[in-house]
Every structure is written in structure tokens, then in C-alpha cells.
Symmetry: C2
């Protein structure tokens, strides 16, 4: 009994000290979830250099633009992109209103959760599933649908809200750059209207700093009220070459720092690093199968081949999730 | 001599008092170039209402979005849109490198400044002139070309830099809303890349808050360096129905205040006013042929017909330039 009491006391003191220590770290030291290592050093040195007034690498605040991929860079993307899971949940929810979908092999597979048939249907099949679940409604209606889903749906293997499966070290990076006068932009292949309802709360990134893929929208008057209707036609695909194109269209400034995790982000990194002055381009490398997932070359999500092969030559810094992050997600 | 001395002294004192008074006004009273009248009152009351914490019309800062047309709303657009004049100057400058243009009736007319033939060529002809002057170069090259022109070219009848022909009352409005926590966005039918090089300096609006029409751009590697090349294909036409569409695509929030001057701005005003809560939608009415230009229904620039006919029913407030602005442009 005495031993147990002593143990509890020690544990409590340790826990209390732990809390105090972590608060102190959060206030005094940036990036507490990053272990000392090449990535943390690179970030700290970069920020120190571009914010040092009078220094040779100084960048005025208005030009401190940082861009981030979302899937696999700021939140989990394995085993399947979150937006696909949203579409599969959504099609089940509305299938009863569309009995004709039972006659379509791809849509029927989606309703039945038959992943093998969906996978076989390829990009065209997925596009069809996305079209029937993401279009035909107004922008306001879609924002509500996305919000309802994201606040309740859970990850298939980790059984947590997707917004809890955002990377703590990257959220600290967002905050740290923001505190240092940076404007953070998401530049994602995912749908912009799927992200915007929650990025402010989860990442501190407002809707106007979220760039992504999008469908054509059409202005219409309905009973005297203007609405924007989502059409089943792609407006812009924000991946690979599309990322620098979108950055120029939306921001009109070249980022000085960019963060990605897959070959779809490399053109954004190239565009960033090709600017004059000091730059930072980093790639989150998913190496931690225990705490998250380990994947790169052979993965069907977040495929990373060129990013690994050309990192050194191009100056892209790899972030080794397993060794460099002491925390991946916040505790439940 | 004594009389002259006395006169000079009086004038000097008056001038000095004038300076003091105007400084005092600038510090204490917003919108000094606006006469007391319905427009100034509407602006002041709107801003007071949406910024009053705890008030029924309060809007948090993050949602204080204001959108402004550019041509005819923030700067002069008569007798011809500035960007057309830029194209006509530009085509003369580069014509020597393109002898084949002499065989094209529209391009030859543009090179010769034959306005009648250009006018007859209609939209298609103008598009052709814009294509050869606005595309084929990289985005960085175009920004330099636009900058070189805008810092030297002068208005055909008023003989001043175009950036001096921005409306002083509207610049005060931009500053006033910004001081009250608003984020100002330009939403113009004009080319976004033609505006971005100078909007920060002239309006205090950074490139990322400028939305406009744009061409397709293509990511390319040139000698190992990534560039974005401007293609002769329209990407987005930001006028009429396009304005609310672009606002949703770029900002993802509905403005609470919008300012335009032509029928091309009405959908933006409708979209703004259809939101919940207190809203402001205003139309600059060009009524001052002495200090600027007088035009509306029959004009080929800034055509305003529906805007006049439906203003009352729709809740659009007309700004009467002649009676409501005591200054149009800043003194030379």
C-alpha cells in the first residue's frame, strides 16, 4: 500500500512537472513536437534568416508567403484520401433518392462499398462518384454537407475524427510561421470547398487562403435569390503543374517556403525554390508505420518517387516522420 | 508694397491654416473628400453598425469582406478602358518584330492607331489585339511590361498618369474600411496581371486581394528554370455572373459590402446583398463632365442601364459623383 501510494505520488508529480514543462516549452520554444534534427534546424535557420531586419536574406512581411499541400502534408491521407471516403459515405446517404444508380455498375459498387470494383473503375469511375456526390447543389448547401460529415465521420482504421488526424508538428509549423509574419496558404489537389468549412478552426487558415481543385459554378436566380450551383464539370485541377499555376492565379506572389509530401507537390517546390533569395522546400516523408503509415514509392496515395530520387539535386529537404516528430497527432 | 505684403501674409496664413485644417480633418473625420449627403451617411452608418460589438448587426473582423470593381469604380475608364490603351501602345512598340501583322487588317489598324477600324472589328478584334500584346511571355515578363507602361503612360485627354486618375474619395473609402477591420478585394473585369503590379502602392491592396480576368498559364521548364507562360486562351472572364463566381472561388466568403459602377457589377451587388445581416451595395454614378466624365445609359464604357432602373428595388445606392465628391482626383 505504501509502495503504491509512493508510486502514485511520484507519477502525479511527474505528470504535473510534465504539464508545467510542456507549457513552458510551448511558450518559450517553437516547434515542441519536432525533435532536434535537420528539419527543425532548417526551419529555425530559415525563419531567423528571412526575418532578420537588415540581414542579407531579409524578406518583408508582405512577401512572406508559405504554401502547404493538405493530404499527407497537414493531415492523414492513408489508406484512402479523405474526400473519397466522404463521397462513399455521401452516396449511401442519398442513394434512396436515385434508384437509377442501381443500374450503373460503378455507382452501385460505391453504394455497396465494393472497393474492388471501384478501384477497377479507375480515375473515370472515381470522377463519376465525385460528380454525383459533389455537384448539383448550391455552394452553401455543399458547405453544409461537408461540415456535417467532417464533424462526425471517423477514420476507418484509426477511429478518430479526420480533423483530429491533422499533424501536430505541422500545426506548430503553421503557427510558428504565422507568428513570424508569414501568410500560410493551403495548395491542395483536394476540393477547395471540401476544405474551407474547417481550415480556419483546425489550421488557423481562413477560406481565402485555401486553394484547391474545383468544379465549375454557375450563377443563377432562384425565386429572386442569387445562388451559385455546382456543375458536374472540372474547373481546375490543382495538382502537379497546376499548383504553381494556381499559386500565381490566386496569390500573384511566389512563395518563399513550400511544404508537400508527394510527387504532386514537386512543381510547387520547384517554383518556390527558383525565386531569388533564401527559400525553403520540404517534403514530409511517411516513415512511421506504428504511429501513422509508412509509404512512398509504391503507394497509391501520396506517391513519392521523383521526390526521393531528386531531393538532393533539387534542394528539397525530407522530413523523416519517424525520427523527427516526437508527436504525430494530439492525444485523444 | 505694403498692401502686397499684407496680401501675401494673409494668403500664407490662410494656406497654413488650410494645411492644419486638412491634416486635422484627415485625422479626425473619415472620408474628407465626400460631401455630407446620402452616400457618406450610408457608409458611416453601415460601418458603425457592423463594427459595434454586441450590436445586432455586428460582423466579426474575419467576415468583413468588401469587394470593388476597378474600371470606373476606383479609377478612370473613359474615354477608353486603360488596358485597351496599354494594348495599343504595346502593339506599336513590338510591331517591328512582327512584319506579318501588317497583313492583318485588325492588327495593322491597331499599329496605325486607326480607332475606327478597331471599333468596327468588335469584341473579336479587340480580343485579337489583347492576345498578341498580352500573351506569349512569362508571367514575370508581363508584370515588368505592365509596370514599365503604367509608370510612364498618360491619359489621352487628362494628360496624367493613370495611377493619378484613381478616385480620391474611393481611396479614402478603402482606407476607412481597412482601418475598420475590413479586407478589401478588387473584383474587376480587367486583367488581374495588369492590375497586380501597382495596386499595393496605389490602393493599399496586395496582389492576393486582386481578382480579375485572366488567361491560361502553362508551367514549363526553360533551361532548368520553371516559368509560367501566358497562353492566348481565356481562363476566366470576371464580369457580370463571373464576379460572384470568382468571389466564391477566390475568397470563399460572401462580401458584406460591394462597390461598382456599371451593369457588369450588378450580380456582385446582388450576391452581396442577398447574404444575411446588414449589407451595403453602392454604384458610382459618373455625373461630372467637368472634373471627370458624365456617362451611363448610352456609354460604350461602364454602361449603366439596369443599375439605374433597378437601383431602388434592389437596394443599390447611387453615388452622385458631381454632388457627393468634393474632390475627384488628388491635385497634381
Amino acid at each position: 500500500m505504501k509502495q503504491l501510494y509512493s508510486y502514485i505520488t511520484k507519477t502525479c508529480i511527474a505528470a504535473a512537472l510534465g504539464v508545467v514543462a510542456s507549457v513552458a516549452i510551448a511558450q518559450d520554444e517553437p516547434l515542441p513536437s519536432w525533435n532536434d534534427g535537420p528539419s527543425k534546424t532548417a526551419i529555425l535557420e530559415f525563419v531567423a534568416a528571412v526575418t532578420e531586419e537588415g540581414g542579407s536574406d531579409f524578406v518583408p512581411e508582405m512577401d512572406r508567403i508559405a504554401t502547404y499541400d493538405n493530404d499527407g502534408t497537414l493531415w492523414v491521407e492513408a489508406p484512402i484520401y479523405t474526400q473519397i471516403l466522404f463521397a462513399l459515405d455521401r452516396i449511401k446517404e442519398i442513394a434512396a433518392d436515385h434508384p437509377e444508380w442501381q443500374d450503373d455498375p460503378v455507382l452501385k459498387a460505391a453504394i455497396d462499398g465494393d472497393m474492388e470494383t471501384i478501384a477497377k473503375s479507375g480515375e473515370k469511375g472515381v470522377a463519376q462518384i465525385l460528380a454525383v456526390t459533389h455537384t448539383g447543389m448550391t455552394t452553401d448547401e455543399f458547405a453544409q454537407i461537408a461540415t456535417d460529415w467532417i464533424t462526425t465521420a471517423k477514420h476507418p482504421t484509426m477511429d478518430r475524427l479526420y480533423t483530429d488526424l491533422t499533424y501536430q508538428p505541422m500545426k506548430e509549423l503553421l503557427a510558428y510561421l504565422r507568428e513570424n509574419g508569414f501568410k500560410n496558404y493551403i495548395v491542395s489537389g483536394g476540393g477547395v470547398d471540401f476544405m474551407r468549412p474547417w481550415t480556419q478552426e483546425i489550421y488557423g487558415i481562413p477560406p481565402e487562403q485555401v486553394i484547391g481543385s474545383s468544379v465549375v459554378t454557375k450563377f443563377e436566380m432562384r425565386d429572386g435569390t442569387p445562388v451559385l450551383v455546382r456543375e458536374p464539370e472540372l474547373f481546375f485541377y490543382d495538382d502537379k503543374e497546376g499548383k504553381p499555376v494556381a499559386i500565381q492565379k490566386f496569390i500573384g506572389k511566389r512563395p518563399i517556403a513550400s511544404f508537400g509530401n508527394s510527387d504532386g507537390d514537386l512543381q510547387m517546390l520547384q517554383w518556390t525554390l527558383a525565386g531569388e533569395g533564401r527559400r525553403l522546400g520540404m517534403i514530409v516523408h511517411h516513415t512511421d508505420e506504428e504511429r501513422e503509415f509508412a509509404y512512398d514509392r509504391d503507394s497509391h496515395v501520396g506517391t513519392l518517387v521523383d521526390g526521393l530520387d531528386n531531393a538532393e539535386a533539387e534542394g528539397w529537404l525530407l522530413i523523416d516522420m519517424k525520427s523527427e516528430w516526437n508527436t504525430v497527432f494530439t492525444e485523444e
